[in-house]
Structure formats: C-alpha cells, structure tokens
Subunit: 535 residues, 2 copies
Amino acid sequence: MAFEIKDRDLLGRIGKINTKSGNFETPTFMPVINPFKQIIPARKIFKEFGCHVIMTNSYILWKNLDPTQEIDIHHFLDYPGVVTTDSGAYQILVYGSIEINQNDIIEFQKKIDSDIATILDIPTGWDLPRELVEYSVEETIRRAEIALPQLYNSDALWMGPIQGGRHLDLIVKSAKKIGEMPYHIHALGSPTEVMERYLYTVLVDMIMAAKKNIPPDRPLHLFGAGHPMMLSMAVALGCDLFDSASYALYAKKDRYITTRGTKKILDLKYLPCNCSICRNLSASELKAQIKSERTRLLAEHNLNVLTGEIKTIKQAIAEGTLWKLLEARTKGHPSLISALKRISKYSNDIEKNKPGFKGHGISYYDYHSLSRPELTRYQRLLKENYAKPEDVETLLLLKAPPTTPYRRNEVYVQFELKLLKNSENLHICFYSVPYGCVPADLSETFPLSQYEIAEPLDYETIKYAAKNLSEYLTINLHKRIILLIGKEDLDYEIKKVVLKIAEEKEVKLQIIEDSRPWSNKVLEKIIQLLRSENR
Amino acid sequence: MAFEIKDRDLLGRIGKINTKSGNFETPTFMPVINPFKQIIPARKIFKEFGCHVIMTNSYILWKNLDPTQEIDIHHFLDYPGVVTTDSGAYQILVYGSIEINQNDIIEFQKKIDSDIATILDIPTGWDLPRELVEYSVEETIRRAEIALPQLYNSDALWMGPIQGGRHLDLIVKSAKKIGEMPYHIHALGSPTEVMERYLYTVLVDMIMAAKKNIPPDRPLHLFGAGHPMMLSMAVALGCDLFDSASYALYAKKDRYITTRGTKKILDLKYLPCNCSICRNLSASELKAQIKSERTRLLAEHNLNVLTGEIKTIKQAIAEGTLWKLLEARTKGHPSLISALKRISKYSNDIEKNKPGFKGHGISYYDYHSLSRPELTRYQRLLKENYAKPEDVETLLLLKAPPTTPYRRNEVYVQFELKLLKNSENLHICFYSVPYGCVPADLSETFPLSQYEIAEPLDYETIKYAAKNLSEYLTINLHKRIILLIGKEDLDYEIKKVVLKIAEEKEVKLQIIEDSRPWSNKVLEKIIQLLRSENR
C-alpha cells in the first residue's frame, strides 16, 4: 500500500506514504524548492527542518538542463528524502502554454527518478467562462487516461489532479473520473487564487466536492496551500498533503508568517515567535540585515512556523482535538470564521468519519462549537438508536444539575432515590445545553459526561438545545410531562418549546418553576404531583 | 521616573521600568528562580531566553543562609539583570506563618541588594470567611504604612501588594489605600487559586477592581500568573508584570505548556511547537530522557512559550491588535470565553484608554467582537458629538453598500449624485453591522471605513446593530424616513425597529424593500418618492 492510515480525527488523518526513496508521515507540508536557487538548502530543509518530502518543478529543470545530461533529482538537489515533482501545469496557468508535451514531461520525471510525479494537467484559472473550465476538466481527464500506460512501468507514485475551480459540479465530475483511475494520490488544483482572495468558504466547498468523490483510502493533496492559518481547516476536511513556496516568496517580499496571519516586517517592533530564528534576534536586528540574509532568516522563520503547525495538527489528530485547534485558528481572519460556519453544511460527512472517544472531554466555546461532530453524532444516535421505555406514561424533564455526569450529581442522586420510591412509571430526562435532551440513563456516557461550556450562553446555543429537545419530545411522545425549570434565558426557551408540543400533541403538562430547581422544597412538589396522579 | 509608558492598546501598555541594575520593558514575565536549585541557570535565562528580570524568594534565602554572610543577590544567583524579591508572604499563605518579621525581611532585601523588593503582606487565602479577608487587607495596609520610613533610604523599587481575594469591595479599598502611598509598583495578590480553578471571570473582576483604583502611571503586577493562555487577557486589563515558577513546576510534573492549554507529555505523540527545544526533538525522544534532563528540556520549552507569548503580546500592543490576540487566546478554554464576555462589563473603562487608529482595520469575527473598544467608542461619539443637520426633514436610510468606505462605493456614488439633484432637504445614513447607523458624512472615517466582518451574521450581532440604530433614530428624530432595505435577516430586524420608532414617534415612514437594493430600479423609486413629496 502506498498510503497507510494510522489515526483519524474529523476527516483528517495521520498516514504514511511509502515511496521508493522512503516513507513520510502525513499530513505534511512539502516546501517547494527552486532547483536552481535554494534560499534554504534542500539538505538543511531535510536535516534541520525535518521535512522528509519536498516538491520541485520538473519543467523548470527540463527547460534549463542539457537534454542529454543524466540526472538524479535527489543528487541534483542534494536532498536525501522524498522528492515530488510538478509537471509544468502551474506554468500553463501563468504563461498560457509551455514548451513540452505530456508524454515527454512524464518520461522526464521518470528519467530524473522523481518519487511522486504528476501528469500534465490543465489548471482551472480564476473566474474563467464555464466552457474553459469544462475544457480544463475534460482535457485533464483525457490526459490522465492516456498517461496510464506510461505509468504502469514506473516505480514512482503518480498524482492525478482534479480540476473544476469554483464549479463544484465539475469538481465532482473530475474527482469521480480521475478517482476511477489507479492514481496513487489525488491533487485538488488551482485553489491559490481562492486563498489569495480569502474565499475560504469557497475553498471548503471545493475540498469537500473533491473529497467526497475520490476513493477514501487515497491521499488528497491541496496544490499551492502554504499558510499555517488555514492548514488545520484543510486537514480537518481531509487534505493530507500541501505544497507551497510561500515560505520563500513571502520572505522575498519581507513578509513574516504567523498562525494568525502575515505581517510586513516594517510593522514589526517585536518578533512574535520563539523559533530558532526569532529567539535570539530582535525585530530591529532582523530589519537591519542585508536583503539576502534577511530573506534567508525570514524564509527559515516562515518554514519553522509551517512545520510547527503541521506538528500541532498531528498532535491534535492524535488527541482528538482537531476541532478545538480549528476554532482557535479561525480567529486569524473573519473569512475563516465564515468558512467554519460553512463547514456546518458538512456536519454529517464529518460525523460519519470521526472516530470515537479519545479520552478528551469537549470544550464548547460558543455557537461555533455546535458544528462539532460529537454533537451531530449524539443527535443522530438519539434519534436512530434511542427510544423511551415503552410502557412509561410520565416524563419527568429536569433542568440538568450543574455537575457532570448529571446522574452522579450528589443532590440528584438523593432526588432520584426518593422519586423512584414514589413512582415507578416514570422516565427521567434532563435538558441542558448544548445537547437539548439527555435521558438520565445515557447521562454517564461520552460526550454527555465530559464537557465544559462557556457561560453566559449565546442565543444560537440556547435555540439549538431547545430545537433538539423539541425533536426528541416529538419522537418520544409521553402522555404526561412534569417539567422542572429554573428562571434563566435557557429555561424560558425550553418552557416555550415544551408548551408548544404539549398543546399540539395534547400532552398533559405540569410545570414547576423555581430559581433554585435543586432544593428539597422542589423535590417535595414533584413528589406531590406524582402521588396525586397515582392516587 | 521608575516607569515610562511608551505605547498602549486597550488597558495594556508597553513600558520601561528603570531600576538601579538597569531597565527592562513591560509587559514582562519574570521567571521565578529557586535560589538553591536552578533548573535553568539564571545566566542562561538572561542570555538565551532574553529575560532581563527574574524573581526569587528572599525568605528562602534568609532562612538557608548564614545571617552574618554578606551576599549580593545578583552575584549569588549569577544573574546580570534585574532581580525582584518576594518577601515570604507566599510562605505565609502555604504554611500559615514564617520565622521573620517585616522589619527584618525588608532590611534583608536591602542588604542583598534586591532591585525590586516587597513588603511582608498578608496574602488572602482562598474562600476564607470575610473577617479573615478583611484582616489580610487591613494588616497589609498597616504594614505598608509602617514600612515606609524603612523604604525612603533604599534605592530599590518597592512593591505595595493589594489584597482582598474575591471580595471586590475589599480589593477596591486595598488598592485605594496602598495606591495613596508612594510605592513604585502595585501587585495584586493571591490570584493563583482563582487561576487554578479556571475562574477567569473572577480574575477579570479582581484585576479591574485593582486597576481602577491605583494611580494609572504605576505598573501593576499580577502575582503568580504563569500561563500563556491568559497573559494577553491580563495585559489587556492593564497588568504589566507577571511572575511564576510554572515553567519549572509544570516541567517537574511532566507538563508541556502551549498557548492553548497544558498537556501531559504522556499524551504527546508530536511536539506541537518549533521552539529551540522542540524543533529537533521528537515526542518519543523527549519522553525517553531521564527525569532530570526531561525536566530541564520541558522547563526550557515552557519558558520559550512564555517569553514568546510576551513578545507576541508586545507586538500586538504596538500594532493595536491586542483585542484580536485576546479573542484567539480565549479558544484555549471555555472559561476564557466566559471571561471575555465579562470584559464587556468594562467596555467603557477600556474604551477610555484605548489609543486611536494605528493603521490596522478591524476584524469582526462574531458577537465576541462586539465588545471591541473601537465599537464602544463609535457609539459614544455618535451620541455625544454627532447630530443630524438641523433643518433637514427627511432621512434616507439605506442598507450599506457591500464595499467600504460606503460612500466611495461606485454604485452609491452615482446614487448620491442623482439623489441630491432631486432633493436638497435630505440626510443620508446607512445601516450596517456591527455599527448600526452610519451617517454618510462619517462613513469615510475609522473604524467605519476599514473593517471586515464574518458572514453569515449571528443573532447577537444583528441585534446589536438594530439596537444602536434605534438609539440613533430616537436621538436624531426626523419627520420622515425613507427606508431602503434588502431581504435578509438583518433587514427584517432593521425594519422592525424602524417601524416601532415610526409608530411611537409619529414619523412618516416609507419603505422600499428589494432583494437587490442597489439597482437603478430602486433608485428610480426613491427619486419618485422624493419628488412626490417636493411637489
């Protein structure tokens, strides 16, 4: 297997890609190296930055080398790791055409012994008329097909690019067609303009259109993605590989990358970082360097940030806290928050792939956390797999106690003992944010038992809980509901939805309202209600 | 001057503290050094970590040294920077009492040549009966007073601690009394338990109670604060100095600090960092070290994160983006989100101190961004300093164009030309999120001209805009309003509040509703309305 999946979180995974020059772990960032001008030497990138795979451009190499010369790309670059080559497709995008055909650039990549190589796809440019986008998709599919015989006798891994730009239906078509062919890795083309324009919601849709239509056991590469601000989001949506020359290009333009955006070094009075470069250098010292040295220092810092972010993402996958990381990173730019909201459209896809409990409780910060897959899963399982006990007529719906698991709450334990003594024909559920309805018998399971939520609650979170409670009550219809509520915003919203259901479904509803819902006085009231019915 | 303020953002500031052993910049983190066991040697902390001020405990030194011995603390620690000493008050907190009185520990600190020294205050423990808290406040005030004659002939700077625990009225009293005395630095005592219990909302209140009642030109130290997750918040509320042994204590317990929380190294499969320690070390290599070496490595990593965060905070102050940093850091723990919400209580205090425009537009992520001081300021200035033109009867209230500055929007420019041709007796305002009402003649000023906001909008943000528009319209009452709205959630909310005001105040209201509010068709409608009135 070229790709082994070792761990998962959301749609992200930690994997291993095996090539003829060794293996490397994903998700990974492949620094793009100019074969003729290495701002950071490739060997140093391997040894000191721990990048065990890099990317370079085979077309630039082909164009500038004597065609009779025998070269090995690893030797040429002085790089001991895995070398991925692009085919010149990017140059088609920039210059309109290139001086080599697919057949020859494929043979050239084989000749230089590239480990991961690319067919000559036609990139989808930005804002093209649909006909031209269709052409790029169709022609890339055609080329992917005719290339196959050439690839069978190669020991490299081959990338099958997916085109379509912003046209999601074309991405779907492209992904399906290329996905049917035996490519080792798929690469989503041309997102660079989308990223430069901060159209991260569009990027979310593009990635998902590709991801859902390629074989799930193949790695997905996102061409040209090189900002740490968005890597965790792309990984969460299932991207495994990234390549960019951003670390060097930004450096040349005196740009300093951080996980919360990019800064001009002229604006820097302090270096907001403690990487190997920034720890012993002040902002004014950096600014005072001659251009070439400044570029090198900036490139090294930028690459440190990128490789550090990849490690951060991998650790988050291992822990099962990728969503938390994602939420933090969206504070880099408002467009990332918009993208986070867009991700909620794909909650079901993400939930399906999210592995189970990894030992970490859940942090609910605000309504953004409502798209968490654990919540989506809980609501789904509650609908699909849970039903109230059949012969029980009365639902006792209680405000959840302030500690988890609710059922282990000291006061509640006493409550329950006395209640069940007074009535056996009783089903007990809690209402709580963000879950909505939590049957007492489920309350000791994950994620109901282990979570923290920020207070005061926001409106969206309260609404979410009320809506989900309402759905539960509609599916699990009781003849009688005793509702114990407090006097806060949440309680009023809950009261509203329960009243509505009681009216519509003709349920007998008795409400006890108390600002201290967990007092003995309240318990007595409930017992009275239960007894009065039993008599 | 012992303290010079060089830059500001929110209540945070970049300052310089001048001592007899040199100066250092604030905000700063002072690593706490055990004088007899330095996990990282003090000299290395100065040279390699760039910490130009450290803190150590004079009581431990006094207790373990021969009293006749002459020592200089800088020489003893082998530290070339500024040394701050605590007095043993922390030991009172932990052990109940100590073996030295205030007079002697003050003289001892003078003798060892401490640069910043501390009187022997009585720390407020956690959850004490109010009488005991009152005692700690009263006794600390008394000691601060009687210490004064001893301090006049000292060339050290002296810290005057503020006590009171969670009792805000006692903090206020303490801060006022100690603030009247000529101490160089004030220190808010005993927040450690509050932080350990993640009671960050309580911490916000405690800091603000102190901050608002000490002289604003004195530095405020927060005792025992040592987690990068909360430093930006404390700085934003006006804290200048922090000290903690956290970097070493966490290391001893195999804890790995990040800006998004603390991790057990057993849970680490990857080191989510690229500091000088983590760049060339894998998680398994770290775990395989012998205990003492592992502790040193972890302590160095932890200190790297802390000093890196201080630089990040300083850069944010310099740029005027401290609020943005604060928002990002609150994703470290739900209790920090709760604290962020609590900060909105102090919007006016923060707004008053926030300097003007520093060249950066504003990012509105979600409703948390509504507490930004720029917004508070805009609403205040709109109320205090702006009034509609006196003799104008008609308000044309338009949905804001999609680009900023609104008034420079190409379509709007044409709109305005034609409108003003048709009616001179017209005042034009825009409605927009999050601002509410933006008079056209203000729309080219900061922050109205430079901001980005995440879409779709959340309910709280829409409500905020509607409320502020409503307030503007109530203060600036027109006889007639022509309202041009679209058909989105925001538009319906705006329509609701304008209808309400029109009804209550008997304003003639004409509404044009169009899903494309910026078309020529709509412009014609408005002109017709204007003409019909003029005739």
